[in-house]
Symmetry: C2
Subunit: 345 residues, 2 copies
């Protein structure tokens, strides 16, 4: 689904507020690190010449600015929060691409494949620290609380990533464990992004908590949709091979839900995806991907995950109703949530 | 040189204060990350069974505690600072071992070679964030300033590491660039370690700055000695192959100083270490290492670096005299500095 006019406008307005501040932050890095970060954000080519490559959508920084506005603050109050969450998000992308040995992102070589693993590790580390510098310097009163909230969310995100790595080697991941992992890996930072502007505005705790809940549930919905796209997504939209998550035998939500079912189809899926204990597993071939995709759906994994995405979207929208927020940014937050979850799948 | 009784006693006393707090911090990690961190610190074997492997000397955390005591505070005031710098130092070791593909540290497999590169990246990330959580939670008044100081030092350390990676590919590193790199890579965190206890004590800026200068110069002296050991150190003491830095053609201080000299010996050294422009360089063989070692000394690289180590030790000790510090921890700080710099080489 293409963003509605209102969503596109809100994202563009927030992007215009964030980009100069994000560039100022990146300019504080030494030349080698700045080169890598500018390339990663799509501002320059590998040699540092200006270019306009498509970067991310800037969802997290938009949420940060809108969360300040939702608490009746000026959007500028949310900007350092938006810059900081964007830096942490991109630190995690740079490191994740090394971990997953992904060689392309947004149709360009990833940082490690362009500059080497060592430089990519260090560049990710640099963005993570820079995020805290930005927050701790932005306001003596409210910066420390924002920095604490970001550190807590980042710690959860990293723990989720560690679980994700550990799950690859395990045969017995439960639906609960998989949900907890995605709450940590995706939900924590979206929760922080959706409330950091409120923290920087000095909003009451109830508002901060409601906005954090909104982001956490949005993250869970987002991850559920991502997991559906990883199996049923159109390669021309996702930019990844069809059924990529199945090919890699990834224990995503639809798979874990399907494996928890009983019956001959679930048994066949188990044999197909998990193999014999102790054997080294190659990626599935296209006909196996096709069969696995059929079996996950037959075992109810698709339906279960779609219901979950919808339930979490409802919970996210419900959280926004728990406190009185400024109406226009409230509507923008809700519209962005719907847009994120209703991507085609 | 074995530590004197006073140094050994000060390090041991600080270690006893830090270890429980460091373990409490590591206990906050999720099980997979805790397993890796405990292994890295030498508390457990790879499977998580308690063991007593030799870890680091705990120099940085000792400096943090002594810097609180030097400002007439209770050692406990410095403990969160000591835990945080130790966490950042070990995050950098875990990532550096991946970057340098070092497979052993303290005669045990490094984290990446035991648990894989992905897990090692994530474990390092987790320690870096944990450091800020510890500081931001320890005191609402002084934790944020300590966290800012640590973030700034960490950013410099990372920038120094990025320069170090970039220098490997360059033929024209100057003595000034090499010194600036080691000030950033080693000096910044030692400066922070030596002043973070003062920050947490609410000491006046002059004391914080003097202690930071002490640590910065100590770091420069320390790096100079490390670079001497990397060429002339006894393998049984360093735990690395003889002349390891020469073998790897590392642009350490003695090498860069020697390359800056004129004359036939410097020309021979350039040809030996830098090869022809554009060629891929293999490690030096033992007879080449022997010849390079002779040439670096003949070109004055050893003498220059030793003089530099001594000058920075003097500058470090001089910084301690700029302000009035509590006498016993003042003496301990000075003794530790002398001990670090006068390691055998």
């Amino acid at each position: 689904m293409t963003p509605t006019f209102a969503v596109a406008e809100a994202l563009e307005r927030c992007r215009q507020a964030i980009t100069p501040a994000l560039k100022d932050a990146v300019d504080r890095l030494t030349p080698d690190l700045r080169l890598i970060a500018s390339y990663h954000f799509g501002w320059t080519d590998p040699a540092g010449e200006p270019t306009k490559a498509p970067g991310g959508k800037g969802i997290r920084s938009a949420l940060a600015i809108l969360s300040a506005e939702a608490c009746w603050a000026d959007p500028a109050v949310g900007v350092p929060g938006g810059v900081a969450v964007e830096l942490v998000h991109n630190f995690s992308l740079i490191h994740d691409d090394i971990i997953d040995t992904d060689s392309e992102r947004h149709h360009r070589p990833t940082v490690w494949s362009e500059y080497g693993v060592g430089a990519a590790i260090v560049a990710g580390d640099a963005l993570a620290v820079l995020a805290h510098q930005v927050l701790l310097e932005c306001s003596p009163d409210r910066g420390p609380a924002a920095s604490s909230a970001l550190a807590e969310a980042t710690a959860k995100m990293i723990a989720g990533q560690a679980d994700d790595i550990a799950f690859e080697k395990r045969r017995d991941v439960s639906v609960e464990q998989c949900t907890a992992m995605s709450a940590a890996k995706t939900g924590a930072l979206l929760g922080c992004a959706s409330s950091i502007g409120a923290i920087l505005s000095g909003a009451p705790d109830a508002a901060v908590m409601a906005l954090n809940d909104f982001g956490l549930h949005l993250g869970l919905a987002f991850q559920a949709v991502d997991d559906l796209l990883g199996i049923w997504g159109d390669p021309s939209t996702t930019g990844k091979p069809a059924g990529n998550d199945l090919r890699q035998r990834k224990k995503s939500l639809p798979v874990v839900a399907a494996l928890a079912a009983a019956g001959p189809e679930a048994d066949e899926l188990r044999t197909l995806l998990l193999g014999e204990p102790g054997t080294v597993l190659a990626p599935l071939d296209p006909s196996q991907v096709e069969r696995a995709r059929f079996l996950v759906e037959a075992c109810g994994g698709k339906e279960w995950t779609a219901v979950r995405a919808k339930a979490n979207l409802d919970a996210a929208l419900g959280a926004l109703e728990r406190v009185r927020l400024s109406p226009v940014p409230h509507r923008d937050l809700a519209d962005i949530a719907v847009y994120i979850v209703e991507r085609e799948f």
